[in-house]
């Protein structure tokens, strides 16, 4: 079979990307970019104003001294950096796509590896282009619209924020629209299937961003929560399935899907419980309809409860049935930072580690309850279901622990020490005044002490103080300058290295591409299969799991670790 489809699409994508890079380099789209990148553009105007003033003074001094006007160049603003970043990516990927596009048109493919690998490139380019459109245009566009509508008074709330219309949700929605309305083009079909590779790579890279303390605390929390809710929901489905006489195969596959990690668990468990096609169709349809619904609903509920990264990550990681939608919901909730994703992925990984155990349990359960069922080699099942990418995640964590990605002492809070913080990074007098003005709003004694200490030292002194101030920053109606001061102090203390910064950026791209591609694999035809007893049992257990984990998280999980 020949996978590569002759089409000029890849070449066209490459040329369009090169054109976008060229337009940015030549400042030809500054008008549009100044509207899209509003915050960066306002920084640009300040930098320009300061530069113009300096140039004017320097020119006047030179004129007084009888010297020629000095040659000065304007420092780069955030706006320039953002445009340069877009241009760089456009040139690198646009150039590569154009070259591969020519190859697709010129080469006569023969069956083999070269044909398969080449066939993947157009699909990757398709997902990457959608990710670029979403990240560079649609995400800022919706953010601006949300603000405009709120400022105009038509709505008292920012619809883009409340409905989390950011690059993650928009990417998934566009993926779903492409798959169900316009259909995935034949030239891209092979590459779109590689979406899971980007998600797995993202999770592996994520391993570099945990400290040992974080991993230990989140790991322990996730084992307890996942242990209770996974085992509880698997057990509950097995109980309800038998009570409702859903059949052993259907009950078995549904318990894995609803209890562990959604479609992935259903796929792993189907052969061991000899699931029939109708069991598989009903179960996967039920999981998908539930998962997609939760992905859009959870972030909005999280906003309503004012949940922090740990709380929301723990809730999404436990309550959302399908693991792909856990990553989507976590990024949708917190698209700029990746703190929520870090928590949610630990929960996802814990679920995956539970999967082989649950599959073995189901294999034994099925043999016990189904007449004539053949015994499975349980050890073999356990080994074959082990998720290898978790080893990659752990390796990245171990590498990161050696300090090769982060400045020495980063995770120990090196920048809590007074000697390490420069005067420029300490809070300014107007920021201190803003904090002083907000003191009456802080009712908690520990948090009040944390703010007073920050006012006194103009910097953070400990991890505990940082944790307390994160609660303060979430107080409703807090002065934006006071909130910004707290965030600035935290940023100074945690001081990311350039490599870690780059990792965060790559991660955002990997998840953006992966989730867009995953959106393309969610079809209405599959979701429509939801029905029968699996929909009833899945609905009952899914609701109990989502509501139960929400209550547990709100009652027992501290907002910040």
């Amino acid at each position: 079979m020949i996978y590569t489809k002759k089409s000029p699409a890849l070449l066209i994508i490459g040329i369009l990307m090169l054109a976008w890079g060229w337009l940015n380099t030549g400042n030809a789209v500054d008008g549009m970019q100044s509207w899209l990148l509003r915050s960066a553009y306002s920084d640009h105007l300040k930098v320009k104003e300061k530069f113009d003033a300096e140039l004017r003074v320097a020119t006047e001094i030179a004129k007084t001294d009888g010297k020629p006007a000095p040659q000065m160049s304007m420092p780069k603003s955030k706006f320039d950096a953002a445009k340069a970043g877009q241009a760089k990516l456009s040139f690198i990927f646009g150039g590569a796509f154009a070259v591969f596009g020519l190859l697709v048109l010129a080469w006569k493919p023969k069956e083999g590896h070269a044909d398969y690998y080449l066939s993947v490139v157009p699909g990757f380019a398709f997902m990457f282009t959608i990710a670029c459109v979403v990240r560079w245009w649609l995400d800022p566009l919706f953010a601006n619209w949300g603000r405009l509508v709120k400022d105009s008074g038509a709505l008292s709330w920012d619809f883009a924020k409340i409905f989390n219309l950011n690059y993650v949700v928009l990417g998934i929605v566009i993926g779903i629209i492409v798959a169900n309305v316009v259909k995935i083009p034949a030239w891209a079909a092979s590459g779109v299937r590689t979406a899971r590779l980007f998600l797995k790579t993202g999770v592996i890279l994520l391993g570099a961003l945990y400290s040992a303390t974080e991993l230990a605390q989140l790991g322990a929390l996730s084992v307890v929560m996942i242990g209770v809710f996974v085992l509880g929901s698997v057990g509950l489905v097995l109980f309800l399935g038998r009570r409702m006489q859903a059949g052993n195969s259907m009950t078995g596959i549904l318990s894995a899907g609803v209890g562990v990690c959604g479609v992935s668990a259903a796929v792993a468990a189907a052969p061991v419980v000899q699931a029939r096609p109708v069991d598989i169709a009903y179960t996967i349809g039920t999981i998908l309809i539930w998962g997609v619904g939760c992905m859009f609903l959870f972030p909005t509920i999280g906003q309503m409860f004012g949940m922090g990264p740990v709380q929301f990550g723990a809730w999404a990681g436990t309550g959302i049935l399908n693991s792909a939608q856990v990553a989507g919901a976590a990024l949708a909730y917190d698209p700029t930072g990746i703190e929520t994703l870090k928590v949610a992925e630990i929960f996802n990984i814990t679920r995956v580690l539970f999967l082989p155990i649950i599959v073995v349990w189901l294999a034994a359960w099925y043999v016990k309850h189904e007449e004539g069922a053949q015994k499975m080699p349980l050890g073999e099942v356990l080994i074959s279901k082990f998720p290898l990418f978790v080893i990659g995640f752990l390796l990245m964590f171990l590498l990161s622990s050696t300090g090769i990605f982060t400045p020495a002492g980063h995770y120990q809070g090196k920048y809590f020490s007074s000697e390490q913080v420069k005067e420029d990074n300490l809070l300014r007098p107007k920021e201190v005044r803003a904090l002083e003005g907000e003191l009456p709003k802080v009712t908690d004694v520990v948090q009040l002490q944390a703010v007073r200490e920050l006012i006194e030292k103009r910097k953070l002194s400990s991890r505990a103080q940082d944790d307390s101030l994160k609660y303060v920053a979430r107080i409703k109606d807090l002065d934006p300058l006071a909130k910004a001061a707290i965030e600035k102090a935290s940023k100074v203390a945690w001081h990311d290295s350039k490599i870690i910064g780059a990792f965060r950026d790559w991660l955002a791209w990997l998840f953006s591409i992966g989730l867009t591609g995953l959106g393309m694999q969610i079809t209405a035809k599959t979701i429509k299969q939801a029905g029968g007893k699996p929909l009833i049992i899945g609905g009952i257990v899914g609701t109990i799991k989502a509501v139960g984990s929400l209550i547990v998280v709100l009652l027992f999980v501290r907002e910040f670790i």
């Binding site: 996967i284 399908n322 999967l355 969610i522 035809k525 299969q529």
Partner: protein, 152 residues
Amino acid sequence: MFPPKTLLLAHHGTAGALRAEALAFAIAVPGATNIVHALVVPDFWDGMQGDDWLNNASTRDTFARHLEGQIEAENAQQIAALREHCEARGLACRSQVAVGDPAECLLEMARDSGADLVVIGPPRKKGEPGYRSRMNLETLARGLACPLLMAR
């Protein structure tokens, strides 16, 4: 036209398909009518494991082999059952299996087999068990070059 020489019967084992089968048998004449059993595997199966991103390739392959084996076994069972019913009535019968959109597949099979009558079951009522893969009746009726008969 009657008796039809080639009668295309859409049959995938549901209650509606059994009614279509009874209608086809009422029309077909032994020795004069060839029954072509059209069995469509709906294309929603394409997306059934697309969302799985955590498993390794071996788990996905095992699942795909399991699912294909199960679908094949179900198809073989339905083909054998219909053949048996036809033989009991002295009707000639052959089966065709296709994967895709039900209406599109049926149109193609009707064209290829030179059917002069197509018999299908009624649309499934809400709540009846079975796959949610409805036949697009408008596409089918407009595309067919021969009469279409739907069982009640």
